[in-house]
């Protein structure tokens, strides 16, 4: 079974790219990883179409865990998930965790072959209960 994929969705492309760099350097190449940040005009924001593409790039049959930053990123990610093929929808989760730490931790968990619910649960251990 393939490892769970990780997607990073930030309002800022630089934040998203930087978080992805940290995942690659700290965790390695064992997990599918994609990021997106900024709106279609290159400003701060998130874009549903780009989020869908990022989920597609990081797609794994084991599912995809998405890390988001501020409110709109979550709203647009929820929207993107709803617009993706229904057979894939239940294999995509948004982790309630800080974006950078959450991405590293989720990827670490995923790199050991853990299933999607465990990847999400581990990332969410970071958040105050």
């Amino acid at each position: 079974m393939a490892n769970v994929g990780i997607v990073i969705v930030s309002h800022s492309e630089k934040v998203a790219e930087g978080a992805a760099d940290m995942v690659r350097q700290m965790v390695g190449d064992a997990v599918p990883l994609a990021f997106t940040g900024g709106n279609s005009e290159g400003g701060l924001g998130t874009d549903v179409g780009r989020i869908m593409e990022a989920i597609d790039r990081a797609w794994s049959d084991a599912g995809v865990a998405v890390l988001v930053d501020l409110g709109g990123a979550e709203t647009n990610t929820e929207m993107a998930i709803e617009m993706i093929d229904e057979t894939k929808q239940q294999r995509i989760v948004i982790c309630n965790a800080p974006i950078v730490e959450g991405a590293v931790i989720a990827a670490t968990e995923a790199s050991g072959g853990s299933p999607l619910d465990i990847v999400k649960q581990t990332a969410e251990e970071l958040s105050p209960q």
């Binding site: 350097q25 700290m26 965790v27 931790i105 050991g112 072959g113 581990t122 251990e125």
Partner: protein, 106 residues
């Protein structure tokens, strides 16, 4: 602390001194949990032989240990591959997590 009853699956233990500059910080923590996850045994880590013991496969818990250079890490593993796990984990610490030591606080 009472000694646990002896059984044929009594845990394998080991220890190693943290000698890399940053200790058990983020990147070494990731490497440690990643390596631990490659074994089926239940593996715990502690900074004291008496515990408390922490799940070596939990990246969040291991990162919270924040053990500095000079700390001794104690390992305990139970399961079919426990001995291999302890050897590999002790080796990882003694290899300084394959980190290039410097001023890098990652």
């Amino acid at each position: 602390m009472n000694a646990p009853p002896l059984s044929k699956t009594s845990p394998v233990t080991g220890s190693a001194l943290l000698t890399n500059a940053v200790g058990l910080h983020a990147r070494p923590s990731v490497k440690l949990t990643q390596l631990a996850k490659t074994f089926s045994s239940v593996i715990s880590v502690a900074t004291d032989a008496a515990g408390p013991w922490i799940d070596a496969k939990s990246p969040v818990k291991i990162m919270r240990v924040k053990a500095p250079k000079g700390t001794t890490l104690y390992f305990e593993a139970s399961g079919d591959d426990a001995a291999d796990a302890i050897v590999a984990l002790v080796d990882l610490v003694e290899r300084r997590f394959d980190e290039a030591d410097g001023d890098d606080h990652g």
